[in-house]
Symmetry: C2
């Protein structure tokens, strides 16, 4: 039963917090396709994966039958420090828009990493620690993931080695310093520390790096070093599993107040936030217990769902990682330099790709100037300065609420507010100065990029 007054913010009590993650794959009739070994093109075995990932994470990566997986107590203790995140009723936004719609957002930005990334970082660090490892390596672009992982490693006393895309390392010194404050070593990539880094530097002297190159360096650093593993902040099944905490908390909070969302909206880059937010709701839909409309929102400059191809592709530009079946723009696709709004990954989580292919959710793309317009509007009305990534979902939610104003429908809209924009002020400055432009790849560009997909 819906209660009379819904508070501005719903916080779960500690004893109401989820004790398990939810693995949506268990309820999928069509399972996501397995990762393939880039050499043999055969499904990656646990043994092969365990050279790169911790054993427990390999298990989670491959498990598509167990619906609920216990969250270890140590991780729940860490969650207790910054979770539950608030489920916010956007009363001020509703009033300003004059909409009959009820708008809710799950705000994941209230922690020092500034985003939901911490939910998986702490899990991955925990399993590395439990396995007796010395440390982990990873790459970071803008720095959200690297920051989250640094915090998690500091908590468990693990060494943390971050390869940061060189241009970000130089242009985002503050993110770098947050990571260093948490004791991580941060190396601008490409570096001379790895064979692949030296090769790239020799071939492209003066390059400012790319995420693909940083991934290759981080993987090499993990696999050539005793006691290290590589960790990744999105795309993987294990990451979506950990991020299900977002959706589970949201659902528990809504159930407590008798609220049922009609539309659930999330921004989509690699899929970690969207996959986590929708997980338990999608579970109900898959089991035929309830119906929801799911909307993935991606940037028009990197439109993997809306304009990509559903096929096997490399997860990294360097082509050293396994292949995943996903909606992809081709692993060589890089959004134009004027794209400041995050969500730059060429592909999309295999789980979400399968759900999308099966018609269980829809996707739209939005241009970055309209995303920043929505971000500014939201900031002034709701008091939170959103991350550019999150603002894709804001834009879509506002559009839905405006539609309700026109039709008179009293829809309940839920969206994921994944993080804050405190480290994205250079992009906001561009917008404030009226210098932000849009980029939409041409059909020819996308065709050329996907023509390089591996033949599987």
């Amino acid at each position: 039963m819906a209660k009379d007054h819904i508070p501005y913010k719903i916080y779960l009590e500690e004893n109401e917090m989820p004790k398990t993650w939810y693995n949506v794959r268990a309820d999928m009739k069509n399972k996501p396709a397995p990762l393939l070994n880039p050499g043999t093109l055969k499904p990656m075995t646990a043994a092969e994966l365990s050279g790169v990932f911790c054993d427990e994470l390999v298990k989670q990566e491959l498990d598509d039958v167990t619906p609920y997986i216990e969250i270890p107590e140590e991780i729940r203790e860490f969650y207790n420090m910054y979770r539950p995140s608030p489920l916010v009723r956007a009363y001020c936004l509703e009033k300003k828009l004059g909409t009959p719609a009820k708008i809710y957002y799950k705000f994941e930005g209230n922690n020092t990493s500034g985003s939901h990334k911490l939910n998986s970082a702490i899990a991955q660090a925990y399993y590395a620690k439990k396995q007796g490892l010395k440390g982990v390596t990873t790459e970071t672009g803008a720095g959200q993931w690297g920051t989250a992982l640094s915090m998690a490693c500091a908590y468990f006393g693990l060494d943390c080695k971050v390869y940061m895309v060189k241009v970000s390392y130089e242009q985002k010194p503050f993110r770098r310093e947050v990571m260093r404050t948490y004791g991580a070593s941060v190396t601008p990539s490409p570096s001379t520390e790895t064979a692949v880094g030296r090769k790239i530097l020799a071939e492209h002297p003066g390059t400012t790096g790319s995420l693909g190159c940083a991934i290759s360096e981080a993987v090499e650093a993990a696999t050539t070093r005793e006691g290290y593993r590589y960790v990744l902040g999105s795309v993987l099944n294990q990451v979506l599993l950990h991020q299900s905490i977002i959706g589970l908390e949201t659902k528990a909070a809504m159930d407590k107040y008798g609220i049922k969302p009609d539309v659930i909206i999330g921004c989509a880059g690699g899929g970690s936030n969207l996959g986590g937010l929708i997980a338990p709701f999608m579970g109900e839909k898959l089991r035929g217990e309830a119906d929801y409309e799911f909307i993935a929102v991606e940037p028009a400059s990197c439109p993997s769902f809306t304009r990509g191809t559903f096929a096997y592709d490399f997860c990294d530009t360097g082509k050293v990682c396994p292949l995943a079946k996903m909606y992809t723009l081709g692993c060589g696709f890089i959004p134009a330099a004027n794209h400041a709004g995050g969500l730059r990954y060429h592909g999309m989580s295999s789980v979400l790709s399968q759900l999308y292919a099966d018609g269980l959710m829809r996707a739209i793309s939005v241009k970055q100037t309209e995303v920043f317009k929505a971000a500014e509007y939201f900031a002034r009305v709701e008091g939170i300065l959103p991350a550019p990534e999150s603002s894709h979902a804001i834009k879509a939610a506002i559009d839905e609420a405006v539609k309700c104003r026109e039709t008179g429908e009293e829809k309940t809209i839920l969206f994921g507010l994944t993080g804050t924009g405190y480290f994205d002020m250079t992009a906001y400055e561009q917008y404030n100065d009226g210098k932000m432009t849009d980029y939409v790849p041409t059909d020819e560009e996308i065709k050329a990029s996907v023509s390089c997909l591996p033949k599987v």
Copy 2:
């Protein structure tokens, strides 16, 4: 009665939120001395003050008899967007320190302004709007207050004009952009927009500005413009009144769980946070209902309580503002350039100064390298990257907890965590690079500075 399990974070329900502010002056036997007119040296009248401040705020500034003042509904609605702030039980810190002490902190950093300043900004903007004004002016140094005021003005549709110390304007472009995103106009000070700015520029070409100069420009801009008033983020009685929301929420949360703090610790610059946090507890002490130990923590580089003089002084370097009786280092005192830790104000709230003079609280000073060491320690253990200002309180709280470890005392320690350090990464970088140094003014420097106090 103390409950069995205290959660990691205590959030009040909406119906438990304070509906009034608490005015500690009402319970003080020795009232804080009145502001004096800098021309006549007579107490400022309401009529004189109303040229500078809104009428309702003048009333609050002068009222030292009414204990509880209603928080208008519109302000409570805004508070609902980001309050209650969590009262956190620092379980992880306690465990790491191995202390029998119980540590709590009230965390005010979970809003886009990044600090407690928003609590008073929204009140001041509300009264300005209610009076039908067009806008407000203010100064900002590091930018916390300017950001808070920009957010508040955006909410009420008020014009907001911020004079930002030129060196900060140039070195902290991100803070500036947050303010611009909220629609504020930000002018580097000194500017050619005001007579006082032009005078200073003529006398000191190439100056990078100071807070005192920015105050003078903001006051001139407010008093020479139709429909504008000046607002200030600390020191004033009205600001401490609004900030009492911090202490009232804290007390309500503690009472709910049967917790009574033994020691209450806050950082002290102008006194807005400390005054707000301790208000209801100090009220009980003043009325003889309970006893608490209060500790103000200030930087060794700007030690107004511990090494200043209790006397009438100007509130600004430009000597255009009223005089206040306070602990002061002299209005010309400026901490050395290597001081990165905030809390740079030469004086201290008249309310707190009187309480300190009456022996109702004590004060200590700490050096900035040890403050940043405590900040880093705290960040790694509790997951929150604190503002340098807040870290003064962290340092003192850790020291108290370590003392308890040595004596075996199970004290309950409460401190105010006023904000986050996301916009202070330049200072953290200095610390990370081992380049941070300490500054402690010599007795001669302080003697010279206070020798310029006005003769009242």
